[in-house]
Symmetry: C2
Subunit: 476 residues, 2 copies
Amino acid sequence: MNSYTVATLLKETKLQEIHIKGWVRTFRANRFIALNDGSTLQNIQCVVDFENTDEALLKRITTGAAVSITGDLVESQGKGQNVEVAVTKIEILGDSDPETYPIQPKKHSFEFLRENAHLRTRTNTFSAVMRLRSSLSFAIHKYFNDNGFYYMHTPIITGSDAEGAGEMFRVSTLDQKNPPLNEDGTINYKEDFFGKETNLTVSGQLEAETYAMSLGKVYTFGPTFRAENSNTSRHLAEFWMIEPEVAFMDLAGNMDLAEDFMKSVISYILEHNQEDLEFLDQRLFDEEKTKPQAERSDLRLIEKLKFVTENNFKRVSYTEAIDILRNSKPNKKKKFNYIIEEWGADLQSEHERFLVEKHFKCPVILFDYPANIKAFYMRLNEDGKTVRAMDILFPGIGEIVGGSQREERLDVLKEKMAALDIPEEELWWYLDLRKYGTAVHSGFGLGFERLVMFATGMTNIRDVIPYPRTPQNAEF
Amino acid sequence: MNSYTVATLLKETKLQEIHIKGWVRTFRANRFIALNDGSTLQNIQCVVDFENTDEALLKRITTGAAVSITGDLVESQGKGQNVEVAVTKIEILGDSDPETYPIQPKKHSFEFLRENAHLRTRTNTFSAVMRLRSSLSFAIHKYFNDNGFYYMHTPIITGSDAEGAGEMFRVSTLDQKNPPLNEDGTINYKEDFFGKETNLTVSGQLEAETYAMSLGKVYTFGPTFRAENSNTSRHLAEFWMIEPEVAFMDLAGNMDLAEDFMKSVISYILEHNQEDLEFLDQRLFDEEKTKPQAERSDLRLIEKLKFVTENNFKRVSYTEAIDILRNSKPNKKKKFNYIIEEWGADLQSEHERFLVEKHFKCPVILFDYPANIKAFYMRLNEDGKTVRAMDILFPGIGEIVGGSQREERLDVLKEKMAALDIPEEELWWYLDLRKYGTAVHSGFGLGFERLVMFATGMTNIRDVIPYPRTPQNAEF
């Protein structure tokens, strides 16, 4: 007797005496079980010979129950499937009380499913989203491995808060109520676990630079944190980031890498996750039908993915983009929430989307941003006012990737740190990279959940990570 | 003009006008540069025409300097390499002051290199270790992807401390000095970021079980934390864990999976990282030559890896193992530090290594441990005193993998939680898995750094992770 998963069984045509385990999605007409085991979006239909099955047993075949089935794989008589299992024996492994089981065979709100996040992958939508999340992760590792990058685990607990990318969470083992104090009344962090104040990392970039400057091409893929009280559909307190960093690569090379990388990982899921993507494409289309025309997407989900893989990314300087935006219809007619008036303005999602969706009609890479709206470590251009930064803009979402060539000149870097009151002692090791064998190098960051949102069409970031961490919520 | 990495250039034979960038490892006789760029352990020899090169430039070719070289790839006149670059042009990208550069071309102590962890991958040993770490990571993702597992990111910040695997780090944004208090004088965690007390996770297993019970086969690979004040060569406060979890799989299946998995990832590096492994094999052999005979390994590094891939893992019950140990020579002659006297004893590394290295002479899987030395979630056997746990024991290191079949019966699980004072409200979602469609399921955990130590022969865990976190140390 051979055991199968639903995915492997659906590839067969006719088999005697097979064995399969899974969970009942629905049980119809006392006869038709739709069985799912997570191996694919699809269920396999298992047909029970109800006339010769004990009534008490039939009653236990309920949504959510775990069952073990023996039977023959036969051609299906009904429509909707090619094959089905003619059940010869069914055993209930675990019951599921239909009175209390939260995941009924009906449409649940995403909010309800968030409260039952431990069960939500028992629905088609969330199992498809999480299979895609897994597939995207693998595509990322595969891309970098195939291209000679080394995966690096940068530290999660950090003693420095120098990057200034946002508010941080403190990590401590000190007595929260009666912490040890210094004579001047401040907290004595020498007695804390690490002998100093420590926080959760906001980025692995600075550490990744240290490895790029010896191993050449490296990347991180790990959790990062922001203690910002933003209760929006686009922010998480805990999220995953991908940060490649490459020695001897300038900003142009960085743009080439980022474009090739994004196209490659999206091509991977188009090739390997067709079934889940088609389901999510239809789901989004149906959902948007209930919305006013103006709020619907121009492109369906799979069209949006192909918009990325099939178009060249247009490279436009920040200065050009400001000119385009300033002269654009929505700016002149004051349709933008933030009117672009002069060079130096920080772009909002509405501006980014206008450039991608209306003006260029392709993914856009903006580069050479004003220095004062970007981070201290970005390479200052010869004009003294712009830095070699780049952002990639996608349809529907705006910025998805942000990167830069890094400041490799010790004196310029020190000046910029001084201007921002970043103490040199805190980043002595980062400065060492500019003292010993410095060279041009570049990298970028991609928020993984932003990519999963883009790839699945989910509009709330809490629905693309297994257990979201947000203000006032750390359940599960 | 074509650009190469050292790895790609060493595969060629004869080329005109090539371009290469890297860091100077050594500069000998004012003529021979050993150039490395991290793409491989090997350097490429670049031969400078010193008679026609400016003296000031020659002086700047120092260990650690970043250089850009143009030249022709030619057959090498010297021994030690097949090809070399006849330099036509050299440019110093970044100087490296030989008076202050910490990484001199000589043997440095590992302790010194830990203090310079931002530069230590500029040595052969650490670049080899970190390339292997990266390769093992990829082998792990590839194994699970090839075998139908989904990668799952379990939360890092957790509101529960129920697993009890060890002391935890608190995560908070409350004012450390003047935290808000309740009327009874306790800390008011409702005002903390997540509205409750939160910690850094010690394991993703419980959350992984939720996904296994819908998606079938999942795994985690993420950071985990222990706030234990253990300043040893085997403990880190922050380390990475791999935790697969599979529905409908019993303990025997779990052992099959773990054995196949370990053999597969080790075979992967034997196939893909031969050069780095040979270097580390020789390094360990040379190091051990300085030790007394009794402290040397019986097997060289690569032999130890093949000991795993070429032997079947012997499966032995805990009860049988206790009998073997009780009657063993080192036990009778009181050579063990911990003498095994009766059933129920927790095994130490010395016992595990005796079983693997002396008694069975192959990797060993011990199973069916006494319930009271194992975790609450492990499946109780019918004897009422043992649980379906298993540990895999390797030569030189002892336990490397620990796993179990999970308790799938709601009533038994509740009893065990009550006995340990674990409140049901904290794990309501974990109990739900036993209420709705419960089934046999199993999984295991592998500490990633333990695997990297085993695979590289490094004996201090601080030397196999980029930036180790240990008591009183969170530098970089």
